[in-house]
């Protein structure tokens, strides 16, 4: 790891003031620190977000859910309040990494990194969540823009995510057994207005994406067999040493079916 300077701000405002082109926000660090160790990232300074209270915590009021950006995967996975209205997202968080990683890694860090095989991008895109930053709020559809790319500007900080709890939601993931990232993960949500959103991670050549064919089929009939008639275009999917695009195309349908079956 190259030398860096560590900062520990106490407020969102102070964190924003420390931001610069050469600085990076450090949340749980479960991706950033390994990346720095490999010298694939070398920020001159790190702005630690773990000690900013206003970035933490889960609040559920009726069907409205707000999760602070520095809330850990463990906290999301084990939140009783969240499990009452959206157990599918708790399940998703319980599948990230391993127990020690979940004690450190955060929802804000995951979505700001937008790894094409990360779980949360599918969850938040599938829920139609709103991403709140220290400058604005934007829809998940507008936030995730490509491989490791988001709509975040230089120095802009994710502070929370908000969403209306769905009627039901499920997440099914085919994991790489070594890295525990998704080779394919599909999040399916039926929203209060009856519409359905299907978001796929781990597969898309441009990162997380929605599958409109499945969304339409499931809006008509929210059952696994509704997915049989849909098609997944392998041309838009990744091929790598773990799985070919054609194999992933099949996995997307299989995982979507399982997500529908598991939806609660």
């Amino acid at each position: 790891m190259y030398a860096t300077t560590y900062h520990r701000p106490k407020s969102i405002e102070e964190a924003g003031q420390l931001a610069s082109e050469e600085a990076m926000y450090l949340s749980g660090g479960q991706t950033l620190l390994p990346t720095m160790k490999q010298r694939l990232a070398a920020p001159e300074s790190l702005i630690d977000l773990r000690h900013i209270d206003e970035l933490k915590g889960i609040s559920v009021e009726g069907r409205k859910v707000r999760i602070g950006a520095a809330t850990t995967h463990f906290e999301v996975a084990s939140s009783d309040a969240l499990a009452k209205v959206c157990p599918g997202l708790c399940h998703l968080a319980s599948l990230v990494g391993d127990p020690a990683v979940r004690h450190m890694g955060t929802i804000g860090g995951s979505i700001a990194n937008n790894d094409p095989a990360a779980d949360y991008p599918a969850g938040l895109l599938g829920l139609g969540a709103t991403i709140i930053t220290n400058q604005r709020s934007l829809s998940a559809d507008a936030f995730f823009t490509g491989l490791f790319e988001t709509a975040l500007e230089e120095g802009e900080l994710v502070t929370a995510v908000e969403f209306e709890a769905p009627e039901k939601a499920g997440y099914a993931k085919f994991r790489n057994p070594a890295s525990r990232y998704a080779i394919t993960g599909v999040f399916v949500a039926r929203l209060g207005d009856g519409s359905v959103r299907v978001a796929v991670t781990g597969s898309g050549a441009d990162g997380v994406f929605r599958h409109s064919g499945m969304e339409e089929a499931l809006a008509g009939n929210f059952a696994a067999e509704a997915i049989d008639g849909t098609t997944v275009d392998a041309g838009a999917l990744m091929s790598d040493l773990h799985a070919s695009a054609e194999y992933r195309a099949n996995l997307v349908k299989v995982m979507a079916k399982r997500a529908v079956q598991d939806a609660r």
């Binding site: 030398a3 560590y6 520990r8 450090l26 660090g29 391993d98 020690a100 450190m104 890295s179």
Partner: protein
């Protein structure tokens, strides 16, 4: 440079290190507590697991500066008064190790597991929860046996006591 103040195994310690120093390096090199191991250095293997403020984390994937002010528990802090912790005793009793390199991390992960699940651990849960700890010798069978035995001994009260 970062000034680090920690409570390690109940003892207040301080030291100075570079901002980029990993917590595991600080524990091993500055504090001389070499029970915490570095295996893969890529947060996969779990040999470096310690408890920070009561929760298991991988100390190779945390800066010492991030841990400043925290309470750290390492493998050296588990036994009390020369008496092995029940988890350590169970690993010995059930032959839960061969070369022993992964053992400190396994035990710290196992203690955290019992803290979260209490005495209600079953084999499936233990195997699932060990996904962040790699052992190349044992095939895991005796590790799982040891954790189940210790969980039973530590009892359902373990979860409550830890909270």
């Amino acid at each position: 440079m970062a000034d680090i103040n920690l409570t390690v195994n109940g003892r207040t310690v301080s030291g100075t290190c570079e901002d980029r120093t990993l917590l595991v390096q600080f524990i091993r090199e500055n504090l001389g507590l070499t029970g915490t191991h570095v295996g893969c250095d890529t947060s996969q293997c779990g040999a470096c697991v310690v408890h920070i403020d009561g929760k298991a984390v991988k100390s190779c994937t945390m800066l010492a500066a991030q841990a400043d002010g925290a309470e750290v528990l390492t493998i050296e802090g588990l036994a009390s008064g020369g008496e092995l912790h029940p988890m350590q005793a169970a690993f010995r009793e059930h032959h839960g190790l061969q070369c022993g390199f992964c053992t400190p991390g396994m035990i710290m992960t196992a203690v955290d597991m019992v803290r979260r699940h209490g005495g209600q651990l079953d084999e499936k849960t233990v195997r699932h929860e060990l996904e962040g700890n790699i052992c190349r010798c044992t095939g895991y069978h005796n590790i799982v046996k040891a954790i189940l035995a210790a969980a039973e001994e530590m009892g359902a009260g373990a979860k409550v006591a830890a909270e």
